[in-house]
């Protein structure tokens, strides 16, 4: 993962072609429960409206699935646009608990206690 994301220039931003041909995002795709939030970086003026629209739903910490629902778009579309924004350093992400830690009993116990405290 890039330490310092390069600042997007107009030429670096591809035209809006989300579903036509671009169903796969570059790199590891964001999962539905990945958490995203806008970065401190200023938005470049050249940003496409679709990207700007998505940034409006990331002003706080939120999941990819929620962004998709607020946008009224399928998660696959949100995944692609968010991956762009991540690459350009305009959002930051907190990845979901990695599958290797799936069976992490500490986390499961925490979920259990959390649920029990709802009763």
């Amino acid at each position: 993962m890039a330490e310092r994301p390069e600042v997007p220039r107009a030429s670096a931003i591809r035209p809006y072609v989300i579903t036509r041909g671009r169903t796969e995002s570059e790199g590891e795709p964001l999962s539905w429960e990945s958490l995203v939030m806008t970065a401190e970086a200023a938005f470049p003026a050249s940003l496409q409206p679709e990207h700007l629209a998505i940034l409006k739903h990331c002003e706080g910490l939120i999941s990819v699935a929620e962004v998709a629902a607020h946008l009224g778009q399928p998660p696959s579309v949100a995944q692609v646009l968010l991956s762009d924004l991540l690459r350009w350093g305009l959002i930051v992400t907190r990845p979901p608990i990695p599958p290797a830690e799936r069976a992490d009993v500490t986390m499961l116990r925490k979920v259990l206690h959390g649920l029990e405290s709802c009763l």
């Binding site: 907190r94 599958p99 009993v105």
Partner: protein
């Protein structure tokens, strides 16, 4: 609505939401986990998610390609190459720093491709069973077994449905002895939470038992 009341109760009990409208998570949240809620049409998936969720449940339509476009009673246009799967989801923040997402997905066999994506990284699944039609859940249970996703079974008891005892249901659904079986009223928060607790206890058991 039950879900509205439930989320208000939670908002009162829990810490103040990060944003006034509760759209965003608390900034202390450092990780997310997910559980799938699966089952046949009308079994109570949306109801359960709404009952448990701290936000109004959201929904999204995931599109997917259909491998074999066979005639399907629910698809209006059988010639379509892609179909959409309506997914509902909700969330519950735990201890202020972990968020649990509940994703509801229909159980029919034709939706298996959509499940693969969703099941990746899921802790496990709660399979809802309709007391009026046990057989309607076969597909969902098959899918879970195909995906090797640990699950618990919650029977939603409908007034018009027959009363079975647990052994009858286990036999009808061909459940493994270790698979938890509970009854649940998805409209009731405590009942829904208890079904999730049965699942998570099972997940802990699966994770800790020597294999």
């Amino acid at each position: 609505m039950v879900s509205k009341a439930a989320s208000e109760t939670l908002a009162e009990a829990g810490p103040p939401p990060a944003a006034a409208d509760g759209k965003y998570l608390d900034s202390n949240v450092s990780g997310a986990a997910k559980i799938l809620v699966v089952g046949p049409l009308g079994v109570g998936k949306t109801t359960l998610i709404g009952t448990v969720s701290e936000i109004e449940p959201l929904s999204t339509e995931a599109s997917m390609t259909r491998a074999g476009a066979r005639v399907d009673p629910y698809a209006g246009d059988s010639g379509k190459k892609t179909t959409t799967v309506a997914l509902d989801f909700g969330r519950l923040t735990i201890d202020g720093d972990l968020v649990l997402y509940l994703f509801g997905t229909p159980g029919q066999q034709r939706f298996l491709p959509a499940w693969r994506d969703l099941a990746k990284g899921a802790l496990g699944a709660l399979a809802l069973v309709d007391s009026r039609d046990l057989a309607a859940s076969f597909d969902a249970l098959d899918n879970l077994e195909d995906l090797d996703l640990p699950f618990a079974v919650a029977v939603n008891v409908f007034p018009s449905g027959p009363r079975y005892d647990a052994d009858d249901i286990r036999t009808a659904l061909d459940l493994l002895p270790g698979t938890p079986l509970v009854t649940c009223d998805a409209r009731d928060r405590a009942s829904s939470i208890r079904a999730l607790i049965a699942l998570v206890r099972h997940l802990i058991h699966v994770a800790t038992e020597p294999s």
